[in-house]
């Protein structure tokens, strides 16, 4: 079983962004923690990050069909990328949307996620653990 872990714009700078919101882990440290849990669960995870809306769509269109599920943190694209929303809606595998910070407790424009509308579920504000919980959920519910 394989799962995609997809991170959107500015998440490559994790660890440098405001640590009160995003924590001090770098993206590769975060990915390592997810990798560890994947190993425990006996599944594969494949990581991808891009700042480009089009590249995220290309990646999901190409890779998701051969996976059993997608964990995605669309970053700011969550709030306006209807193109990404269409891509996610079109997938046949379950999607869990993750945000490191609690988007409901920040600027008003972050409260609404257009991509969350087509996800199976969402996790926000639990830092790197959100990715791990999403993985556990997807593994447990994969058939």
């Amino acid at each position: 079983m394989t799962f995609l872990v997809v991170n959107g714009p500015n998440l490559n700078l994790l660890g440098q962004r405001d640590p009160r919101l995003y924590g001090t882990l770098t993206l590769s440290e975060l990915e390592a923690r997810v990798q560890d849990r994947a190993r425990d669960l006996g599944v594969e995870v494949e990581f991808f990050q891009s700042n480009s809306e089009g590249a995220l769509i290309d990646h999901l269109q190409r890779e998701a069909p051969r996976s059993q599920g997608v964990i995605i943190n669309p970053g700011a694209y969550s709030h306006y990328s209807l193109a990404l929303r269409d891509t996610l809606e079109n997938l046949k595998v379950p999607v869990v949307e993750v945000h490191l910070s609690n988007i409901h407790a920040r600027e008003p424009f972050r409260r609404h996620s257009v991509t969350a509308e087509v996800a199976k579920g969402t996790i926000a504000g639990l830092g790197w653990y959100g990715y791990v919980a999403a993985l556990e959920y997807l593994v447990a519910n994969a058939t």
Copy 2:
């Protein structure tokens, strides 16, 4: 270490409500699964459910201070109970808000949660697993 698991209005009817949205587990079955994981983690969990906004506030004011964290599914109160929001904001222990269904994929009025604004984080759409993940997060981050 003790954690509160608080469920709001209509969650006592779990298993009878629309199973496509809420699953077929009853509330006591759900609580049993959380209890199992708590036992594995070596922590206490205390369950409470009420349909009354005032009773939820009373309970949280009285019990939360002696706990290490709160897992709450405020049900429909999420969307308008500013009184419950004030109670949660006032707590000194971390709060994780859980919804069984993905509130972002339902009626527009369910997309905004006034209580989520003062929570540490939120989990929605992952069914009973959301409670378990919230517990794991709180235990891992309790000092």
Copy 3:
């Protein structure tokens, strides 16, 4: 056959509230008129009034399943109680929402009823007769 007649906040003061809007009947006089018609129709009616959102939900959850229908005047809870709305939506028996005054001809906040969205139908502005008409409808359509 049994039908519930449920009245929400401030309806216990009927007869004392602005008589131009609500008429001069007291709640027990109103209930007596409904009782009379029920007797003519050969059905049971059970009355309940509470100012508490939680108590209304508790009552409906407990009593409605053994009834053939619910007549409810949610009072001001009509306009914001999403918790009560969830309860009503969850019932398997038909619900008719009744308002004594014409809520469409009053303050703007009274024009929208969140509970009416999940009712079978609504009657407003016909005073105590609204309850009687609701009862006749429910009896005629009960199987």
Copy 4:
């Protein structure tokens, strides 16, 4: 005593429109049921249907003054015909607005009725029985 029963646009097609919303009765069958009850109550009813806003206004201006009350289903004109609203507001006899389906449970644009603001009361979602209940109310309250 005479009462007007006025039906607006597309109600002439009753029975052909979506039966889940509007039932299977034709307009003349519906009128027959109202006629039956009128006979029982010992009053006259006069029926009128038009798809034209102007014709509805003409009819109400001309016929309502010699009646003791109006039962009107303005159809979609409910939601925007301020001209019809002015006509109804100007009448000296009581008006009850009836809708076959529960307009609060449908598209957002159907939730607000500009004509209901000037009616004595409204009934929605009770099918043909709504007309009968309106008639009973008007007869009982006619002086």
Copy 5:
């Protein structure tokens, strides 16, 4: 020189509508006053009233081109008849919109006139004198 005086829905009932808003003059009395002034000014006036949006449009399309200007009180159609607005915008003669009452001091929905957007000017709240002033203006500015 000929000018059209066009009155929309419910204005045929002038004198019977709320006299605090509309005065006690009937429509024919009002037209007589306009006729008197027209005679003084040495111009023709032609009167038309209809409750029908389509009839108003038909009349304006047919008669306005051979006139030197239009005085119109669109009644409630002012607030939503975009079809009438298109007709007026299309006329090559100047249009003055008149309202008997001050529409800015009444219900919110009366504050915006879609037809006024394409008129030369508007007069509101001056009762029958508004028609006379409109006529004087049009005569003085006719070439």
Copy 6:
């Protein structure tokens, strides 16, 4: 096979309205072009124009059921005639809505069409060719 071509308010004045928006063709010239293409395609077309909302509804209710499809330019009624919308929604034959000008590039109130919501498709801004394309589409998809 027969198709209806229905034009709404002010379209009878085509050729006289602002030619930058609507072109210089008259309505009968436009209808002649549609007639020509119909002849090529071996189908019947029947034309109707009215400024009256009620007359448009009457016509559609009466004539559409014996046709294989409707091409309609509702003019300004597109933007507010919920009664016409109900009529179109109720038809069992496909409807294509056509606008001569690009309604998305004009005043804000023209950007939203309530009738388009219940059409099969829409064409705007392509002048008289829009009617022809609609006809070709309907013929090709008629069974």
Copy 7:
């Protein structure tokens, strides 16, 4: 009998402002025309212009009580000066609000006049003639 003619901000520059909107008359030429008509009507008019909201309020408070009516063009203050609105509402003499251009045909912010809500009536788009018509109305209705 005395009437006040009050002009607000930027109206002292009349004749220099965009002549398509405001015409080519200067303020003193406009006042001369009003003076001429006042002489014909046998009444006094007193003119005042200021760019200052406070000065307009001071003037109206001091001078209006000894007049029989006020003609005011509040200029842009129409759209936001609630202080001026309070002053006008407080006057015991009738007020007619005049605008040289048709404010309904310009920028959206000019469509709503907060001062018009408390006036007896309004005239817009008729240029200098609007002042004259307002004067005639006030004289005719003065007691």
Copy 8:
């Protein structure tokens, strides 16, 4: 003379809530200060606090009629409890609404109070002194 002092949700925790907003006084210390002033003024005060909307309504319905006035701090219920608003509107004694913090200087949702709309007056931001001032006002204006 007796006056009610009613405090809503979370006010029982006074002194523990954010002291920059609410001060360091506990609720009983605050009540003691009001009691002291009542003694000076020679009147009775009765205190009540509840987190439950229904209990607040019950209390006011039962106790207010035998009092000469009500001082109420509805806490967060100010912003949405239309049921409490109906109760207060129905009282025959004057009501002063008090808030410890200046609700106009906080989150947007706190700027509008639905209960203040039916109060005699409001005091906000003056801490415990607000209750005392409200009492003085009510005593001075009691007949």
Copy 9:
């Protein structure tokens, strides 16, 4: 200790404005009552009234720095004078905003005060007593 008492537009006409809203006291009578209480409290009060936004700002900028606090009734400027708001925000002494009438119970535009956002607190609806209570508060909290 000196305190400023500043009144905005139209408050010079107190006693002449609608007495149901504003009472029958004139401004100088109101100031006399505040003066009396100041004498009892052993402090100075300085009164100022202007209809001019600029004059109010000039006065506050010049006089407030040598005072211990400001009591201001900005009248209608409360609802839109962002310039006055900036002045008040900039003061280093506490400000209490007072309104004679309950602004929450009047027209919608009066419900929001931009100046209250930067005040220490507000009092509305308590008539002249509001000024006295504000003074007592400021004196008690002055250092």
Copy 10:
């Protein structure tokens, strides 16, 4: 003569997306049908698809100037890509916007197209035929 046919995000997956909305044709089958008609009309068509907003802009900037017109289906970018809108507005050749499904009959966010505001015309809901009709229109109107 050459025309561009440009397809935006997710349209490469045509045939796999919800066939009730988008039909069962793949993108290359759709392009083949357009190619066929182009051959009949004796013109060239060049196809391009990208999921990337930047790539679509680059392509249009580079290729459109040497074409005689553009047929574009911007997919979800229609609803928010102001950058693409600027590119299209800047083109000197005519643009027809095409949507496979009727965007007016779907989610509210799909009802408004920012790119359609700068197109010559739009076609929606006619499936692959929309592209063909757009081509015919452009060819017929090319000079």
Copy 11:
């Protein structure tokens, strides 16, 4: 060549207002820096500051016509003074609007400037340098 430098309300207090937003320069120090650059550029600058909307309008009407351009910081009047907007729109010389702080990064009400709509350009957030840059621009573009 002469240029006006006009500062609106509360800018006379520069240096005393919040230095994080406005810097520590006083207005006369700021004016001195502008004067220095004017000397370098060989042009005249004339300074004016007022807290009064009317005085600002008077000054601009009187002085701007003999200048070659206007640099204005309207302070809070930017956000609502439609009267000042009309004055600026009416000027025949170019206007540059300057704000010391970045108005887009502050309270929502500061994000929209009604006066900027009629300016040639705007500079915000660059402190005193904004005035200097505006002057350089105006000098370079003066003919």
Copy 12:
């Protein structure tokens, strides 16, 4: 010292876009002018333009940290690219946002810039000079 000059979508076409809004300079001519001034000031400038949101983010993430400041014209991305906004907010060097045209005087959607909210300051409407002024500001304030 090095500064980045970054231009967003469609700015590569400068000189070809509507010259009334954007002037006749090409992008390389504009860059040359900025280069000239940089040489005078003794600093380095590096230019970058892209139509791709992702490429702009990549560039800023990679290059900005080794610069002393960023001058950016995000083009239409200003109005919706929350991803770009996050990138800019994350930078540790100051950012000045520049627009060639006065975005406040154009379509409503251009009035709000989400990127300006996180910039140090903004310049709009001053054409190429805006870039030069931004550079001077950044150089003068670089440490």
